[in-house]
Symmetry: C2
């Protein structure tokens, strides 16, 4: 099946319209007519070659929402007409400890990413900047009714990336949570942490987005460019989720944690981060990392978001605006996520 898509022809080159082949719908597969695809910073890193050589042409996109148009003979989980989503994974071994624990993202044999990796059948996966996609039904999420489908797309990556650490480290009533960075990830973190009942503080470089942050659910907003912030907030958070991929001064942030507090990175700066052991020992603190979330947890997150009316703040664009959108993401000029209207791809 030949379908329309937007692909990066080689590292650093602008994306351009093309067609790609989607596989036959197998017994366990679902064919999805894509309606919306979010633009994640990872898409840009990948096509720019920041993360090493890629199997170009690459069709990015792992924040996918669409409608089921065909299901394989063995599929019971989804039906034609269902509104569904696909995130960062389209497969895993299903047999290792992580897969059995619902942590497919940590599959011992490596999860199969939604684009730019080798699938089980030897083909290269291609992502959501496309009109259609064929995905193993076990990796297809149900998008609950009531969620705006365009604004729900970023939940599939940004949403679960924030929901997973917030749940894992117990964000809820009585906990004090800080979100570092108010971008695509951070703004989801604020909404979700607030809905979980935590007291939420945004730590952003400046106060430029303060009004937004408070509107989205933050109780407090501080500028990290102001050194007083680190003094004023010393020892005052149970959990800090750092969404900033640039290198931060980890020890300064560890100093903001209460006893037993955890700083979780969801982004990975390329350079090592120097950690003073005393920053950890002096308060039984932890520096941790978290990567997206398993399929069951992603469904839980979608249901939670539907219950609490949480979606991403999005700017809908046509496919031919994708290169411009990339520039704006790199310039942090987006509030807070670009989503491609896939009807403009056809």
């Amino acid at each position: 099946m030949r379908v329309s898509a937007y692909a990066a022809p080689s590292a650093g080159q602008p994306l351009a319209p093309t067609t790609i082949e989607r596989r036959e719908v197998g017994a366990h597969d679902v064919l999805i007519a894509i309606e919306y695809a979010g633009i994640c910073h990872s898409d840009i890193h990948t096509v720019n070659g920041d993360w090493g050589p890629q199997p170009f042409p690459v069709v990015p996109g792992h924040e996918i929402v669409g409608t089921v148009t065909e299901v394989g003979a063995e599929v019971t989980r989804h039906r034609v007409g269902d509104r569904v989503g696909v995130g960062c994974m389209v497969g895993s071994c299903g047999e290792c400890d992580s897969c059995r624990n619902g942590d497919e993202q940590y599959c011992a044999r490596g999860m199969i990413g939604t684009y730019a990796v080798t699938d089980r059948d030897g083909t290269t996966t291609q992502g959501g900047y496309s009109t259609h996609i064929v995905v193993d039904a076990d990796f297809v999420l149900t998008v609950p009714e009531g969620l705006d489908p365009a604004a729900a797309a970023p939940l599939l990556c940004a949403g679960i990336t924030m929901y997973a650490p917030l749940r894992r480290w117990g964000a809820g009533p009585g906990t004090r949570v800080a979100i570092v960075g108010l971008g695509g990830l951070g703004h989801m973190g604020v909404k979700i942490a607030h809905a979980l009942g935590a007291e939420v503080t945004v730590l952003s470089q400046s106060l430029k987005k303060q009004e937004d942050g408070l509107r989205l659910g933050a109780d407090h907003y501080f500028a990290t460019s102001d050194p007083d912030t680190f003094e004023a907030l010393a020892g005052s958070f149970d959990l800090i989720v750092n969404t900033v991929s640039a290198a931060i001064d980890v020890n300064s942030y560890l100093g903001l944690l209460a006893v037993d507090g955890t700083l979780v990175n969801v982004g990975a700066p390329p350079e090592p981060l120097p950690v003073n052991a005393m920053s950890l020992i002096g308060g039984r603190r932890s520096f941790a990392g978290s990567m997206i979330g398993g399929i069951a947890l992603t469904q839980e997150m979608l249901d939670f978001c539907a219950e609490h009316g949480i979606v991403s703040e999005v700017e809908l664009i046509a496919a031919d605006q994708v290169n411009e959108a990339y520039e704006r993401v790199l310039a942090s000029d987006v509030r807070y996520r670009f989503v491609i209207d896939a009807s403009t791809l056809a």
Copy 2:
């Protein structure tokens, strides 16, 4: 009350016999006739000035076992004749969150260390290399019958330093625990982790102490000088407790952790440790720190050790051997803890 002691007269100078003043026994105090005092690496760091200027003369020693010879009017917790212990703390504010949570070591106003810090009354605390000590009854532990008092002394610091992280991060049946370094701390870690029911691996620089390690309760023993170790054991521990104070390659050790695993430092090398965020993110791993343990937990540890017949492996020395013992500790030439027989101080 004037009592005999061994003190460092100034930074880096040999310890020498002296006398020091102990305060009157207050209403909440206990007077202890010291029988044994362990030698902790911290004692050496302190008197050598490694941790900054100190209020010399300094009497080190925070692994103290003795007998109660007098109690204040308000003391109900201990009686004359009781065998008791004192660890690294002799006071804290008692009012902050940490104190109320039983984490006196993280007292917001700073715990009062057993030596070389300013006590509430403005005097400088002096430690256990001495014939007697007067301590607030709330910071005096009960040493259960059946524990050899000399070999129990190191439990008060080394024992709780290892017990606290093993308990906090869930060492027990079905968990795979590695102890890095088989010294004063490490050998206690092996015994305690084994008694808690964990599968215990020692990661030591060489295989020199392998026989000892297995005798003490380790199930496996690997040399970290062998690069194959890091390949063979990749992803295989739930918890690693690092007792080595020298800088280690944190990322190599993080690579030994399973998904959700934690590497806990109980020592603090002076230089920052470079951490690759991807080492954490790629398995939802944590790098944490832990410092001794609260009073209630220390009592729990002593009771646990009595129940399981756990004490330290000690070499008993006379007070006038303390300088030589320091040299041997620095040369890692001790299996596994020196303990001063306080009767040689009188």
